[in-house]
């Protein structure tokens, strides 16, 4: 979903950077607060960031005959809430922009907005809605991760369509084109990401029950039942 370096007109690049900046700044504050209040959560924070690192490095073949990669942002958003994921996602994007020429500095704002802001918030929203309506933990985790992944690629398609409207069919025509490249390719990958996130969450439920209860992912006292339900 990375928009390549220099591939957004300067005005668009600046606008997306301005849109992303408050989320990242707010995220840095939330992250500092979390680490100060709960130093022991640093390790799990690292693990959530690491999950994004692994997943966004994996280019996987898809049904459209091209390759794309998952985002891994759903897990961190569910565990630590979206603001913190805005920071972890930005770190991943910076690493790729600076060392891999994947994405870019001028397009960082736009890429942060899709991967580190909209993805985590959309995924977290779906997760919370499902949990409140009584869905089992793992169903909510899968749907949250799936949504975080897919919504990221939809936003990228919109960003490109706005910057490069089709001369004949306008923004809508361009959206169909970029959506075909990004969003359709992404559907099976979003399923994969959902399944991998469920796998990691299952491992966390076994290994870090106390931490998950503190973060509110597992309910106090209901932890045993949750673990059995999955």
């Amino acid at each position: 979903m990375h928009i390549a370096e220099g591939y957004l007109p300067p005005v668009h690049a600046a606008a997306w950077a301005a849109a992303s900046a408050p989320f990242v700044i707010h995220g840095v504050r939330a992250l500092t607060r979390e680490v100060r209040a709960n130093p022991e959560s640093t390790l799990l924070l690292g693990a959530a960031g690491a999950f994004t690192f692994v997943l966004s490095a994996l280019k996987i073949p898809s049904v459209t005959g091209s390759c794309s990669h998952p985002t891994g942002t759903g897990l961190g958003a569910i565990l630590f809430r979206p603001p913190i994921m805005a920071v972890l996602g930005t770190i991943t994007l910076l690493f790729q922009a600076l060392l891999l020429a994947h994405g870019g500095l001028t397009t960082l704002g736009a890429n942060v907005f899709s991967l580190a802001v909209v993805g985590p918030w959309a995924g977290f929203g779906v997760y919370v809605l499902l949990r409140r309506s009584g869905a089992p933990l793992m169903v909510a985790v899968f749907s949250g991760a799936f949504t975080a992944d897919l919504s990221t690629y939809c936003v990228t398609s919109v960003q490109l369509a706005l910057a490069f409207p089709d001369p004949g069919s306008g923004v809508v025509g361009a959206l169909a084109k970029f959506g075909g490249i990004f969003a359709v390719t992404q559907v099976p990958l979003a399923v994969s990401e959902g399944l991998l996130t469920v796998l990691v969450m299952r491992l966390l439920v076994r290994s870090s029950k106390g931490e998950l209860t503190r973060l509110g992912v597992l309910l106090q006292g209901g932890a045993e039942k949750e673990a059995a339900v999955r």
Binding site: I3, E5, G6, A47, G65, Q96, G104
Partner: protein, 122 residues
Amino acid sequence: MSRNAKINTLLLAIVAALAVLPLALGLGDHKEEPFAGADGEAEAAITEIAPDYEPWFAPLYEPPSGEVESALFALQAALGAGVLAYYFGLRRGRRQGGARVAAARDARTPAAGAADSAGAGA
């Protein structure tokens, strides 16, 4: 294999199948360059829509070859996988250590209790 391990293996198998099926079914055969990156395809689409558009900024550093780029991607994945493995390894070790301490305490307590009651009886 426990039920838990079976479910985890099944999850991984489905993910692997989702990645391999497009290759096995030849879903990229209609393309000149099958299974290229979607990011690159987007660049091509931009050039198609706006042939006059010139990228106005170039990456500060670009890996000198596809091989070096692959190496850096592998490094990124390895860093992430390493941290995840460290986390779960540490947790597992702590849990096992905790269980061992608890078991040792349980083994000691009844004996100590018996000695106490023996002492009280004397």
